[in-house]
């Protein structure tokens, strides 16, 4: 029996399409790669610039969180910024850690945010509570960032860090 050339052509086209779709999906599932050489200070400045707010952010002293945790030895660079306005709890931090330690850093930061939220007197600045409640920590390769910001600024902040570090 002679093979139908038309059927064979359709079969090949379907197979190629399937491969194309499969490979596209596969590339989408691959882990993102992040740079490892950006300064936390530089990233924070970019994020502030990106947020387009009137908020004045100041850099905290290096030991600002030492009441919550001892800065681990694997942190090589960090910055914490917070709002200059005492009526505003806006705060974010960016930490660069050595390979293998981002999740440990993320845990420390989540514990800090949780502790801050639990101990904050809700009668002071109640409108700021959602920022504490919804504060988030995310990992970008060897960078760990937290944000205590209202939406959409929180999402914008993390998107900025993600874009700045992705390679």
């Amino acid at each position: 029996m002679k093979k139908n050339p038309r059927a064979k052509s359709c079969y090949n086209s379907a197979w190629i399409s399937f491969l194309f779709i499969f490979l596209s999906l596969l590339s989408g599932c691959q882990k993102k790669s992040y740079a490892d050489d950006r300064s936390a200070h530089e990233l924070a400045n970019m994020a502030i610039s990106d947020l387009h707010t009137q908020m004045l952010y100041l850099e905290a002293e290096p030991d600002v969180l030492d009441g919550y945790f001892q800065m681990p030895h694997f942190v090589t660079d960090s910055t914490v910024r917070f709002s200059a306005d005492g009526n505003d709890l806006d705060e974010f931090g960016i930490f660069h850690v050595k390979d293998g330690n981002p999740e440990e850093m993320a845990t420390l930061l989540r514990d800090y945010l949780s502790s801050f939220y639990e101990t904050y007197n809700a009668n002071y600045l109640p409108e700021e509570i959602p920022k504490l409640r919804d504060a988030e920590v995310r990992v970008f390769g060897n960078y760990v960032a937290y944000a205590m910001l209202a939406e959409p600024y929180r999402t914008q902040f993390f998107q900025c860090i993600d874009h700045a570090l992705q390679i």
Binding site: V64, D66, G67, A84, G86, T119, Y120, Y124, L125
Partner: protein
């Protein structure tokens, strides 16, 4: 043989005397616990009245109960006084962020850290008052209170080495809606925190304790009704006048 028995009236006064002696010992040891560390007494003792000129040399920094010194107009300059350091929120919690957070420096309106402000101002005396905000957290983790207070004092002393520092005992409270815990428990926690003050003083020079909370308590150890505002936490002008009088009459030598 008749056994001579002591009159029962002999024992009653003896028991009372023993009881009183025991009570005195207890009170003095409790007082010592709140003021002493390693046998050294950091409590500012009764002195002659130094008057408002002495108060005028002080800068006050603390929680909302400190900021209200300004609102009640009891200091020099009244409600425009430059002696109270605070930010827009008017309150502050003692955390490890205390040295990074900003106050509005009254002479210029600039936002400065308290360290920067001390470096500029070099006050003769800085009166600190922390412990009510975060009380439940401090009760669970008293080391956190000591750590953060030490951090603040270290920073102040580095910026202004000649500034005397007075730590006020934490003020008592009445029943309130601010805390979910009842007043009796809160006041017990407050006393526990106050007992940490000598530990803080012991690690520094020129740091003292003023038991200003003592002038605010009623017989039950709560904030006296006549000194409390409606929320059971904050203070009336009369309370602040008593506090300032205590400071005037328990001056550093």
């Amino acid at each position: 043989m008749k056994i001579k028995q002591k009159s029962p009236f002999f024992f009653a006064p003896m028991r009372t005397l023993v009881g009183l002696l025991t009570l005195c010992l207890f009170i003095s040891s409790a007082h010592a616990a709140i003021t002493e560390q390693n046998g050294q007494n950091y409590l500012l003792a009764l002195s002659d009245d130094r008057g408002m000129a002495y108060i005028d040399s002080m800068i006050f920094f603390g929680e909302s109960t400190t900021t209200h010194l300004k609102a009640r107009g009891v200091l020099g300059g009244g409600t425009a006084t430059q002696q109270v350091w605070h930010d827009e929120s008017g309150t502050r919690t003692l955390t490890s962020k205390i040295t990074s957070e900003l106050i509005i420096y009254p002479p210029t309106g600039e936002h400065l850290t308290v360290t920067e402000a001390c470096r500029r101002e070099r006050p003769a005396c800085l009166v600190l008052s922390f412990g009510l905000n975060g009380i439940l957290s401090f009760a669970k983790d008293p080391e956190q209170y000591v750590f953060c207070y030490n951090k603040l004092i270290d920073a102040v002393q580095e910026a202004a080495p000649d500034t005397s520092i007075i730590l006020q005992t934490v003020y008592p409270v009445r029943e309130n809606n601010v805390f979910k815990t009842d007043a009796a428990t809160l006041n017990r926690h407050i006393e526990e925190i106050n007992r940490l003050l000598p530990t803080i003083c012991a690690t520094h020079e020129n740091v003292y304790i003023a038991d200003t909370a003592s002038v605010l308590r009623d017989a039950d150890g709560a904030l006296a009704a006549e000194y409390a505002t409606e929320d059971g936490i904050h203070l009336t002008a009369a309370a602040y006048q008593n506090i300032l009088y205590y400071l005037r009459t328990h001056a550093k030598r």
